[in-house]
Amino acid sequence: MLAIISLMTLGLHSGSTSMFHSASEDQATARSVLVRSEKLYVTPKRVIEGGALLIQDGVIVQIGRGLEAPEGARVIEGRVVCPGFIDAWSSFALEENAFEDDRVGRATRASDALDSYVDPRFEQQILGAGVTAYRVQPSAGARAGGLGAVVRLHPGKRADQSTLLADCCLAGGIGLARDGRAVDVFDRVGEIDRWIGALSDGQAYLEEQNEYRHELEEWQKKIAEKDKELDEAFKKAKKDREKAQTEAKDKGTEFKEKEYKEDKKPKAPRFDEDKAELARVASGELPLVLEVHRALEIRSLLEGTKRFTRLRLAIAGGTDALECAEELKARRIPVIVWPQPTVGGRPEEARVKGMGLAAALESAGVEVILGSGAAAGIGSRDLPLLAALAVGHGMQSEAALAAITTRPARMFDVSDKVGSLEVGRQADVVVFSGEPFAATTQVRFVISGGDLVVEGR
């Protein structure tokens, strides 16, 4: 089937070149790139052996087997070709004050926190590992972290120009140590309560808005009717008034106007930008990512959020999440795992909590997404290594690949732009010299946003 399609498109293409052989056509084909591979991952599940991609003006125009390179096109070869990786938990390009800001609120935006003058060589280092996009929050590890953004890495463009989605989620943390001080159990429970309360506030705000709108409509209808009535009755009212005025004059009393009463206009609820965002979260429009580690807190959180039926919740970190795996699976709550080697503890538990966590959760049926933990700015560069560690501790390769491509794209509502190779999209492609997670594999080429940004080593 694919062969037929590729032949057809081939026929069409060669037809067009012979018909319109103009200077601009030459230019167009000069901006063509054909990427050939032994193994093409359209998505982690859909692999095309010997597959190829044709990219024109930065957009993928063809995917298939045995594609011919148009005249003047650049040809790139590699063993394995994948969609660009996405780091679901990063702090790259956050300006330095963002790490200590106390005033971050729920409406603070990550897109405002990005340093548009971050040295492009750092971007190049991350791209050089095959990571082409990442999610970032306005404050690393804040209690109420604000609105996250998904940004594409492109050394030639500033962060504001390469943002894919400026508000991809609301984030926060529960029970995280602040200023090196651990939070005690009462404070942690308090933090959960505050989040539940905030979500309720958001819901209430939404309902308030809806109710207001409804009441306003009703009132406006009533008033319009009243207007009509009054208009019609004006002549009579005028006569009555004059009559009453003369009467009063005759009697020598003071003329008093008739008292006019009408329903008060309903008062608009005060605008609250924080609550507006929480409303979006409570209604399921925006996902909520909370970093939480201890089993007690995860359980309380799951318990408390049960009643928000439309809430899209995700957990980041989830060190003890295995204990709640069943409920996470049932409610389809993904866990964004940072498969880092842990420090201290007994060897068995350390592995399950650190590098083995992803595999353990995956086997229990929980959807696992991988991230570099926003540990250090350039940490995103090491995402593929972390994914390899997760595989080394039991995660299936295919799942690990999905955890850094299709799953984060889906979670953060950007799957129409990144995460898989589709015709019509701006190309985010990585070309490897071998299987992506093998030690000896090198990244040979990277195309981000349609432009070749890393060239072979």
């Binding site: 300006e95 004050n97 963002a98 200590e100 800001d101 106390d102 005033r103 971050v104 609120g105 409406a107 603070t108 935006r109 990550a110 405002d112 926190a113 990005l114 340093d115 548009s116 003058y117 040295d119 060589r121 750092f122 306005p138 404050s139 604000g146 500033r158 504001d160 008033i223 009243k226 207007d227 009054l230 208009d231 009755a233 004006f234 009579k236 009212a237 005028k238 006569k239 009555d240 008034r241 004059e242 106007e257 008739k258 006019y260 009408e262 206009k265 605008f271 930008e273």
Partner: protein
């Protein structure tokens, strides 16, 4: 309670003395005869030129100007006349430059400027005759600034322009980050818009209700004229604002409204290149880009192309040479910032803030030393800041019709070895170095009158306190006499 310490008291007296001697000049007419007159950037220099100032303005300037018989003459054949320097942005001279609350556009520096602050006295030494005082950079939206002359004991005497513009900052206030700063800026304007819309809506509702009431009561309702003014603005408007008399608008919001309507200039501080984008975005979104001047730190040279594209001028606050450290290799590079700005065609004024020297002519000289033309360098401390402050027709160069702000330099104006010998502000002699007691103290080791050397000494015991309770005019004469005696090598040892 005596607010003034001994030194400020001495300063007050010193300034007063200087002023009084100035007031002794003829009412309105002053002629300055200088060995050379430098009129301004790119203008011809006049050898043995004469500047005639009448009623504060330059009436004539040239080599053969007729000096009226009743004019006071300053004969300075060895000195070079130069236009007074213009400081486009300064946060000094106030008791506290920064305010705590975020949107504080309704505040004014008028309430914090301290006329006897040492800064004003010092400005005269450096030949700065026009100063725009704005609030500090640690703010979101700070108050309104004003342009002053460093002369006078009251704010009124000092005022040149009552409102010079609103101060904003794109750089995070202490404790905030770029994200929360952006949020706060947006909130300020968002709140303004919501507030105005609410006002208009309430008015409309009130009018509607009044109309219905009249109908009900059988009254004819007189038409109400809109007592307000429609909102002007290039970025956003609130329809129906003409229904609201301007006096009813919360005075705290009025300056922001004026800003959005393009009626107030804005001084927007940017400490980092990324902040430049934020500032321009906020200014554009709220319609005051055309009246914005960016106050930038040297690091912002990286955003020069963006600034040039927006077409706004900048005030460069800080050293003209910026040392950049490569984040990857640690290597250091020196960047000549005004050179970079000039390359990208950004209009810039230099500032004496945040540098190791307060001398604007030294900064200009540094620019010339690094390849800038003298014209451009001089313009950046005279005519360009004057234009930025909207005073391009009043100050910045020595031309007929402009204010008589003249400096007399001991030598070539951009030379490091030159000093400002005299300063004339609007025809009044504001400073005379030969009478500057502090400089004498510094250079010759003599303490100013009515002060005591630290730690005390035997000679201090002998000090005759002559100035306590003395009439200022008498004291002025006393000081002059003292100065003459010292020049001759005599005099009391104080």
């Amino acid at each position: 309670m005596n607010v003034f310490t001994a030194s400020t008291r001495a300063a007050a007296i010193a300034i007063g003395a200087l002023l009084l001697s100035a007031n002794a000049a003829a009412d309105g007419k002053l002629a300055i005869k200088a060995g050379k007159v430098v009129q301004g950037p790119g203008m011809p220099e006049i050898d043995k030129g004469v500047i005639l100032i009448e009623n504060g303005r330059i009436a004539a300037i040239g080599a053969d100007v007729k000096v009226p018989w009743d004019a006071t003459v300053i004969d300075a054949p060895k000195l070079v006349a130069f236009p007074g320097f213009v400081e486009a942005h300064s946060a000094r001279g106030m008791d506290r430059p920064n305010e705590n609350i975020d949107p504080a556009a309704f505040l004014s520096v008028r309430d914090s400027i301290d006329p006897v602050n040492f800064y004003f006295e010092d400005s005269l030494r450096w030949g700065i005759t026009t100063i725009n005082i704005q609030q500090g950079n640690n703010c979101v939206i700070a108050g309104q600034g004003m342009v002053v002359r460093p002369m006078g004991i009251t704010i009124d005497e000092m005022t040149v322009k009552t409102v010079s513009g609103v101060k904003l900052s794109a750089t995070p206030k202490a404790g905030m980050s770029a994200a929360t700063q952006a949020q706060a800026l947006r909130k300020a304007f968002g709140d303004l818009q919501r507030y105005l819309e609410q006002l208009v809506q309430e008015k409309k509702d009130g009018n509607d209700r009044a109309r219905r009431e009249a109908l009900f009561q059988g009254r004819d309702l007189e038409g109400e004229n809109a007592k307000g003014r429609a909102m002007e603005g290039s970025a956003w408007k609130v329809a129906g604002l003409e229904l609201i008399p301007r006096g009813e608008i919360d005075e705290k919001q009025v300056p922001l409204l004026a800003l959005v309507e393009g009626k107030l200039p804005a001084f927007f501080y940017c400490g980092r290149p990324m902040d430049v984008h934020r500032a321009l975005e906020v200014a554009r979104d709220n319609g005051f880009l055309a009246r914005t001047t960016l106050v930038i730190s040297p690091a912002c040279y990286k955003a020069a192309d963006v600034i040039a594209e927006a077409g706004v001028p900048v005030v460069l606050e800080g050293p003209v040479v910026f040392t950049e450290t490569d984040p990857l290799t640690g290597a250091e590079t020196e960047i000549f910032v005004p050179g970079e700005l000039k390359k990208k065609n950004v209009r810039f004024a230099l500032s004496s803030a945040n540098t190791t020297t307060e001398s604007l002519w030294f900064q200009a000289a540094q620019c010339v030393g690094r390849g800038m033309t003298k014209t451009d360098a001089v313009a950046s401390v005279t005519t360009i800041p004057a234009e930025i402050l909207g005073l391009g027709k009043q100050v910045g160069s020595l031309e007929v019709g402009k204010a008589g702000n003249v400096l007399l330099f001991s030598g070539e104006p951009l030379s490091v070895t030159s000093w400002v010998e005299k300063v004339v502000i609007e025809g009044k002699e504001a400073y005379d170095r030969s009478k500057d007691v502090r400089v004498k103290h510094l250079m010759a080791g003599k303490a100013p009158a009515n002060t005591q050397a630290m730690g005390g000494s035997a000679s201090a015991e002998k000090k005759v306190v002559c100035c306590e309770g003395e009439d200022p005019a008498e004291h002025a004469k006393h000081l002059e006499a003292e100065a003459k005696k010292k020049d001759k090598g005599e005099g009391e040892d104080k």
